[in-house]
């Protein structure tokens, strides 16, 4: 490691060392993706021939992916994921946007109390509410429904918090002028303020969709019917059904279920990174 004993000049070291470190880490990051894709195209017999860099003897992708879709309804899982994520997002926006607008631009008695409740709720993880919400849904005989999957997430206190910050910076003069022109508050909110806050709304949409597409805890509690399972719960059913006999199909299933978000991420890299990290509370 010392500069004197090596045969490369110190400057070459300092140029190469960061790359060496980053590449080592990158290999660790990519290892599961590589192994998943590799196994999903290998023949079952070859899986027992373990080496670090195996070259598939025969191309078995079609068989594995077909076996995966036949064992469990993979596309149904993804459709469920889409229905649940979009349903949650639409209601979250419809509820949070007016509330955030009122907090930012329509002073009303009790606004402070409402906002402190929002801040307090920000600190309460979903898993804490699961027990009473489950009892409520069981009483109402609503378990194993799309509604049960969406119910705890219909209010996003984080969206209220985030949009309030964004809406606050909208110029008051424009709102006053619009009021004098006879525009209703609803129209001001949705036709003037919302379009100006689209980047924040898009970032929140990414955050919400990624969080709920990947959530396992709540679906595991309210869904026992496989036909209603979102992707992570579906993956769990699949792993149980396979119980380690057909790794090729299992890895093909994992690849299919994780692909939609990964593809979206690769296509809209900036928006994804911003959406997930700028809204830093998980």
């Amino acid at each position: 490691m010392s500069d004197k004993t090596g045969f490369l000049a110190p400057s070459t070291y300092s140029r190469l060392l960061p790359h060496a470190v980053l590449m080592t880490g990158a290999l660790f990051m990519l290892l599961p993706f590589y192994w998943m894709l590799l196994t999903s195209i290998r023949a079952p017999a070859e899986i027992f021939n373990v080496s670090l860099w195996p070259i598939p003897q025969s191309f078995h992708a079609l068989e594995n992916y077909a076996a995966a879709t036949q064992t469990v309804p993979l596309f149904r899982f993804m459709l469920n994921g889409v229905i649940v994520c979009l349903g949650i997002l639409v209601v979250q926006l419809l509820v949070a946007i007016p509330a955030a607008y009122a907090l930012a631009k329509l002073p009303f008695p009790g606004a402070k109390l409402f906002f402190s409740l929002v801040i307090g709720a920000l600190c309460v993880p979903m898993q804490v509410l699961a027990l009473p919400l489950f009892i409520g849904l069981a009483w109402a005989d609503l378990l194993n429904t799309y509604f049960a999957l969406m119910a705890p997430f219909l209010l996003s206190v984080f969206a209220i918090f985030l949009f309030r910050q964004t809406f606050k910076s909208y110029p008051d003069e424009i709102i006053q002028a619009a009021r004098l022109d006879g525009m209703s508050e609803m129209a001001i909110c949705w036709r003037l303020v919302v379009p100006s806050a689209l980047p924040a709304i898009a970032a929140f949409a990414v955050f919400s969709i990624v969080a709920h597409w990947n959530d396992l805890y709540w679906p595991m509690i309210v869904i026992s019917d496989m036909r209603l399972a979102p992707p992570p719960l579906g993956m769990l059913f699949f792993a149980d059904a396979e119980s380690g006999t057909n790794y090729g199909a299992l890895m093909a299933g994992a690849a299919v279920l994780t692909s939609p978000l990964v593809i979206c991420f690769l296509l809209a890299r900036r928006q994804f990174i911003e959406g997930i990290t700028m809204t830093g509370v998980k």
Binding site: L52, L133, Y217, A254, F272
Partner: protein
């Protein structure tokens, strides 16, 4: 709802033209927050009150009679060896994930920050585990760490080591789960650090250079580390909350077997597999107490960050 909000104020306007403007706006304000308030009550406030009430009873789903038992659930929890193991396992998991999840991310971020052409490549690679579905990737990890079929043990064997049962040896399970946790969170933290790094003014590095801090390590210690302090705190708190909520990997990889229980998983088992609602409610409140302790710091910081 919105129809009522639109008609009501016009009547007031006709009746009281002078007073009405602020009144009308206040009523609009109430109308605008009313759906959110209703949901806040139904999703947060009523359930939290129910939770506290439940924790003081021996309620079981479907039970005939329920009794008030005071704080028995809490004392039972702390004398229950399974819960205590879940508790220490979770703390061990958090204690591994925080230093590695934060330290590696800081190293990666400082290295990526000075790259120009390869920066976006590394960003994508390190962020990939954050976007992927953890349950699916946990299944892949299970296969990778398989004692006989996995590449990790194959590599270790070729280096002359024995076979490691990463997911069934009680000593190895929690550290193994923590490695997967670090794998998942490093990219997220890296991005937060990159944002923090680009907020450091270039002049500071120039000034440090003039003052003799020429080597990368000196620059890091004199400028980067002090300037990044608040970000490091924030990332450490966020990481601890995420790590505290470890669930998916346990649910997929071990199901709490071989002594690998963690808080959320035992909570899940008590509440939704054994239907011990009263006891599970007490465990939930213990869990909440820890998360609140961690997230109050986070919320304060978040508020400052966004205002600023």
């Amino acid at each position: 709802m919105s129809a009522a909000a639109d008609t009501l104020p016009t009547e007031i306007r006709q009746a009281e033209p002078l007073l009405s403007r602020t009144r009308r706006r206040q009523l609009k304000g109430f109308a605008f927050v009313s759906p959110a308030t209703l949901l806040l009550l139904l999703i947060y406030i009523v359930p939290l009150i129910t939770l506290v009430a439940l924790s003081l009873t021996d309620y079981r789903l479907g039970a005939m009679a329920t009794q008030f038992i005071g704080l028995d659930n809490f004392t039972n929890a702390f004398s229950d060896p399974v819960f205590r193991r879940a508790f220490t396992n979770t703390l061990l998991y958090v204690a591994i994930v925080i230093p590695f999840g934060v330290g590696i991310a800081l190293l990666v971020a400082t290295l990526i920050h000075s790259r120009i052409r390869t920066r976006s490549f590394y960003e994508v690679v390190y962020f990939l585990p954050v976007t992927s579905t953890l349950v699916a990737m946990a299944t892949v990890w299970q296969f990778i760490l398989h004692p006989r079929l996995g590449p990790v043990n194959a590599a270790l064997k070729s280096l002359g080591f024995g076979e490691f049962a990463f997911l069934s040896d009680p000593v190895l399970i929690i550290p193994t789960l923590a490695v997967i946790g670090v794998w998942q969170i490093v990219g997220f933290n890296t991005i937060l650090f990159l944002a923090g790094l680009s907020a450091i003014p270039r002049d500071l590095y120039d000034a440090a250079h003039v003052d003799g801090a020429t080597r990368p390590l000196d620059r890091f210690l004199t400028v980067t580390w002090p300037m990044l302090g608040p970000t490091v705190m924030f990332v450490a708190v966020t990481t601890s909350i995420t790590a505290f909520k470890v669930f998916e990997t346990v649910a997929v990889l071990t199901r709490g077997r071989y002594g690998s229980e963690v808080l959320l998983y035992s909570l899940y088992l008590e509440g939704f597999e054994y239907f011990q609602m009263g006891y599970a409610a007490a465990l939930t409140l213990i869990f909440l107490a820890f998360v609140l302790f961690l997230s109050i710091g986070q919320a304060l910081h978040l508020d400052r960050r966004v205002h600023y």
